[in-house]
C-alpha cells in the first residue's frame, strides 16, 4: 500500500476526531464499495461551520480523508464547504492510490449530509441560503 506521507500523517494523527454534543447537523454515510461508515457532526454559527468532528470505520485512506476534509471545512461558510469535492481532498493529501479514491467520496458525502441535516433542522436558514443561490 503506497500512501503518501501526508496520508500517513493524517491517518496516524487525525484532526477533529470525535462527536459534538448537541450538533447542528449530523451526516451518517456508508461506502457502497467496501461497506465502511462515517459520521460527521457540525456546529454552525452565522452560516459558518465553527466546529466539525468525525467518526470513521474504514481504511487508512478513509480516516485520512475524513481528517483532511474536516480541516478544510472548519471555519468555512456553508456554501464554501459544499464546494469542497473529494478530488480536492485527495489532492491536498498528495494523492491517493487509484483503488482508494472511492474512500475520499465518503468524506465529501458525509459533510454534504451533515449540511443537509443542518438545513432541515433550521428551515429559515434553508430559505435564506436557497435565496442566495
Amino acid at each position: 500500500m503506497a500512501y503518501s506521507d501526508k496520508v500517513m500523517d493524517h491517518f496516524m494523527h487525525p484532526r477533529n476526531v470525535g462527536k459534538i454534543e448537541n450538533p447542528d447537523g449530523v451526516g451518517k454515510v456508508g461506502n457502497p464499495v467496501c461497506g465502511d461508515v462515517m459520521a460527521i457532526y457540525i456546529k454552525v454559527k452565522d452560516n459558518i461551520i465553527v466546529d466539525i468532528k468525525f467518526e470513521t470505520f474504514g481504511c487508512g485512506a478513509a480516516i485520512a480523508t475524513s481528517s483532511m476534509a474536516t480541516e478544510l471545512v472548519k471555519g468555512k461558510s456553508i456554501e464554501e464547504a459544499l464546494k469542497i469535492s473529494n478530488t480536492v481532498v485527495a489532492e491536498k493529501l498528495d494523492g491517493l492510490p487509484a483503488n482508494k479514491l472511492h474512500c475520499s467520496l465518503l468524506a465529501e458525502q458525509g459533510i454534504k449530509a451533515a449540511i443537509e441535516d443542518y438545513k432541515l433542522r433550521s428551515p429559515n436558514v434553508k430559505a435564506q441560503s436557497s435565496k442566495r443561490e
Binding site: 496516524m12 461497506g35 467518526e55 470513521t56 470505520f57 474504514g58 487508512g60 474512500c103
Partner: protein
C-alpha cells in the same frame, strides 16, 4: 531498518539458508539441461531425481507420481483442468468448496465457461466442509472433487480422509490443495486417500516459483503444458533446477524438523491469542479451535477495520494480513470469512497472524504489547462504539 516481526508465513516464508545453499550450485556451476545425454547433464538429472524422491517421501508417494510445477497455483490448475478435460466423456460436474484458494475457485469459474458444472459446497462455522452435502451433491456426472487440506486464511484442517471415502465409493477423483499443510503437518497421500495433491515450495521455507503435483498412478489426466518430453510428458519445459533442488532440500528438512517446529509454533500461536484476548475486549476467534494448522491465528476485532490495524502494525515493524474488504484488491471481504458466517462488517475487522520458524516469544509479546493501544485508538475513532 530494525528487524521485521514477520507474522505472514501463510503468504510466504523466508527460504531456509540450507535450501539457498543447496540451490547455489545449480545456477552457474551445475547448469546443465538435465535432458541432455552427456555426463555433466546426467549429474543434473540425478540431482533432479533425488529431489523428486524427497518430495515423494514427504507425502508418502512414489517418485514417478510427482510432477514438478511452477508452484501451487499451477498444480491446482493442472489437477483440475487436466482431470476435467480428460474425463469429459464421463461427465462435466465438479465439486469444490466455498472456501478454496482463488487458484482453485477461479480455475473452476473458468471451467464453468467451458461448459462444466461446478457445485460450491458450504462449510460450518469453523470452516469444516459439510460431509452430507458433499455426499448428496455427487451425481453420475461428477468427475472430480477438489477440497483444500487446510485453509490459508483461518487454518482449519478438513477431514480429507473421510471425504475421499465418499468419493471412492462413487468412483470420483479427489484432489486436495495441500499448499498450507505439506511441510507443516503429516500429509500422506495414502492416509488421505487422495488421487491428486498440490504443494508449493515457498510455503515451507523452500524457494518461490516451484511446486509439485502428485498424480496417483492410473489417474486419467491430460498433460498441462505441451512441448518437450519433460516430466513424463506431463509438463513440458526445461526444468527449474535450482528450484527443484531447493524444493527437495526443503522437504528433507521438513521431514526431520516439522514435528518439533509445529509444537513450538503452536505454543507461540496460543500465547498470542491468549495475550490478545486478555487485553482486547470484543474479539472473535475464527477457524477451528482444534483442527487448525499450528501457525494460523485469525481473529475479528469488532468496530475497527483491518487495513487501518495493519498500517499501524506496519509502523511498529509487524507484518500481518487481513480479510477486510479495504485491504483486498477486489474491495470485497474475505470469501472464507463470509462462508463461515462472519458478518461483512465483522470480516472488516479481521486480522491474520501466521507464525513460523523465525518467530520468538519476544515477537509475540511485542504484538501483545502494541496491538491493544492500536485497537483502542481506532475504536475511539469508530462510529460503532467502543
Amino acid at each position: 531498518m530494525s528487524r521485521v516481526i514477520y507474522l505472514d508465513h501463510n503468504a510466504t516464508t523466508p527460504t531456509d539458508t540450507r535450501v539457498v545453499e543447496a540451490m547455489g550450485t545449480y545456477f552457474n556451476e551445475q547448469y546443465a539441461n538435465p535432458s541432455s545425454i552427456y555426463k555433466f547433464a546426467q549429474e543434473a538429472n540425478e540431482a533432479k531425481e533425488i529431489a523428486r524422491d524427497k518430495v515423494a517421501q514427504i507425502i508418502g508417494a512414489k517418485p514417478n507420481e510427482i510432477v514438478f510445477t511452477s508452484g501451487g497455483t499451477e498444480a491446482d490448475n493442472f489437477a483440475i483442468k487436466g482431470v476435467a478435460f480428460a474425463n469429459r466423456n464421463k461427465g462435466n460436474h465438479i465439486i469444490t468448496s466455498k472456501i478454496e484458494h482463488p487458484a482453485v475457485l477461479n480455475t473452476c469459474k473458468w471451467l464453468e465457461k467451458q461448459g462444466f458444472e461446478i457445485t460450491y459446497i458450504g462449510v460450518d462455522k469453523y470452516g469444516i466442509v459439510d460431509l452430507d452435502e458433499l455426499a448428496s451433491t455427487i451425481t453420475d456426472k461428477t468427475i472430480l472433487i477438489t477440497i483444500m487440506h487446510a485453509n490459508n486464511e483461518i487454518g482449519t484442517i478438513e477431514p480429507i480422509s473421510e471425504m475421499t471415502k465418499i468419493a471412492k465409493q462413487k468412483g470420483v477423483y479427489f484432489h486436495t490443495d495441500a499448499v498450507q499443510t505439506v511441510g507443516k503437518i503429516t500429509t500422506d497421500v495414502n492416509e488421505l486417500g487422495v488421487d491428486l495433491l498440490s504443494l508449493s515450495g515457498h510455503k515451507f521455507y523452500g524457494p518461490k516459483g516451484i511446486g509439485a503435483i502428485y498424480i496417483r498412478k492410473g489417474t486419467k489426466i491430460d498433460s498441462f503444458i505441451h512441448g518437450g518430453h519433460h516430466e513424463y510428458n506431463r509438463r513440458a519445459g526445461t526444468e527449474n533446477m535450482p528450484g527443484i533442488v531447493g524444493l527437495g532440500k526443503a522437504c528433507e528438512i521438513a521431514i526431520k524438523e516439522r514435528e518439533t517446529d509445529e509444537k513450538r509454533i503452536k505454543i507461540l500461536r496460543d500465547r498470542l491469542y491468549n495475550g490478545i484476548a486478555a487485553a482486547i475486549p470484543d474479539i472473535i476467534l475464527n477457524g477451528h479451535p482444534k483442527h487448525r494448522i499450528a501457525g494460523t491465528l485469525n481473529i475479528c476485532v469488532k468496530y475497527v477495520e483491518g487495513e487501518s490495524m495493519l498500517l499501524n502494525l506496519d509502523l511498529e515493524g509487524i507484518a500481518a494480513s487481513s480479510g477486510s474488504a479495504c485491504a483486498s484488491g477486489s474491495l470485497e471481504p474475505s470469501h472464507v470469512l463470509l462462508a463461515i458466517g462472519v458478518a461483512p462488517e465483522l470480516a472488516h475487522g479481521s486480522l491474520r497472524f501466521s507464525m513460523g520458524h523465525n518467530n520468538t516469544e519476544a515477537d509475540i509479546d511485542r504484538v501483545i504489547e502494541v496491538l491493544p493501544p492500536i485497537v483502542k485508538k481506532l475504536r475511539a475513532m469508530s462510529p460503532f462504539g467502543k
